[in-house]
């Protein structure tokens, strides 16, 4: 397996949707290719960091205000 082939399978690997024969090939490649191992680990970490940090929090008071505005208009039949 080449590095390019590895990168093409990176998403499937991260999303855990690789069939087992290819999976072994991928794991062998990562075992001998430090670069691809780093790319895999840091890409997975990138997703994890974005998933666990709320970037655009909606403060409760604003949420309540918007919520009330939406419901008031719905009750009037929009």
């Amino acid at each position: 397996m080449t590095c390019t082939e590895f990168i093409a399978l990176l998403d499937d690997l991260i999303d855990d949707s690789v069939a087992s024969p290819i999976r072994t090939e991928i794991e062998n490649h990562m075992h001998e290719c430090e670069h691809c191992e780093v790319v895999f680990n840091t890409t997975r970490k990138t997703i994890e960091i974005y998933r666990s940090h709320e970037l655009y929090e909606l403060p409760n008071n604003l949420r309540e205000r918007l919520h009330a505005a939406i419901m008031a208009r719905c009750k009037k039949g929009c």
């Binding site: 990176l10 840091t42 890409t43 970490k45 990138t46 974005y50 970037l55 655009y56 949420r63 929009c78």
Partner: protein, 215 residues
Amino acid sequence: MSTIQSIAEENEQHPDVALVERVRAGDVSAYDELVRKYERQIFRIAQHITQNREDAEDVMQDAFLKAYEKLDQFQGNAKFYTWLVRIAVNESLMRLRKRRTGKMVSIDEDLETDEGSVPRDLADWAPDPEQNYSQSELAEILRKTIQGLPQGFRVVFALRDVEGLSTEETAEALGLSVPAVKSRLLRARLQLRERLSRYFKRKTGPAMPQEAGLK
């Protein structure tokens, strides 16, 4: 912290189906529940696309109102949430269009780039790299980094990886093909990784030849 809904499992009767039925029968309080359930996600998605707080507030309101008005057009075979996201994406794009008057805005914009499709920065990261920054510094880094992505990549990453939609749901919400979503997702992930590397890579002391070679 994260409020990712577990919307991956596909069961026969999603709880939203009953709520939608009640709204259709004239029960506004059921809609209140639906709004409460998804308002945070819709706000975040609108922020990711418009990158503007006031626009996101407007989009959130307009999306829920539009969904309410068009509820009889909603097909029960799609998920209510996916359908709602699609409305919010369209409202967000319309909002952007208004802002940059006359200029066409679509999620296909700015994709003429190969930047980041081949990883260049191959330095490993520190074990828990985010701990080298305060919460507010980190949030600023993450915001700045994702805002630098082309819009068509940013939206795919936000829906798929941040909000936890499946590839198929992301495709449906954006009106894209599944292969298009997959190719954008890979490039979005690689570009974000590349950009975050600047902040997160392991400090290897001065004058590491390997680091000096990477620009």
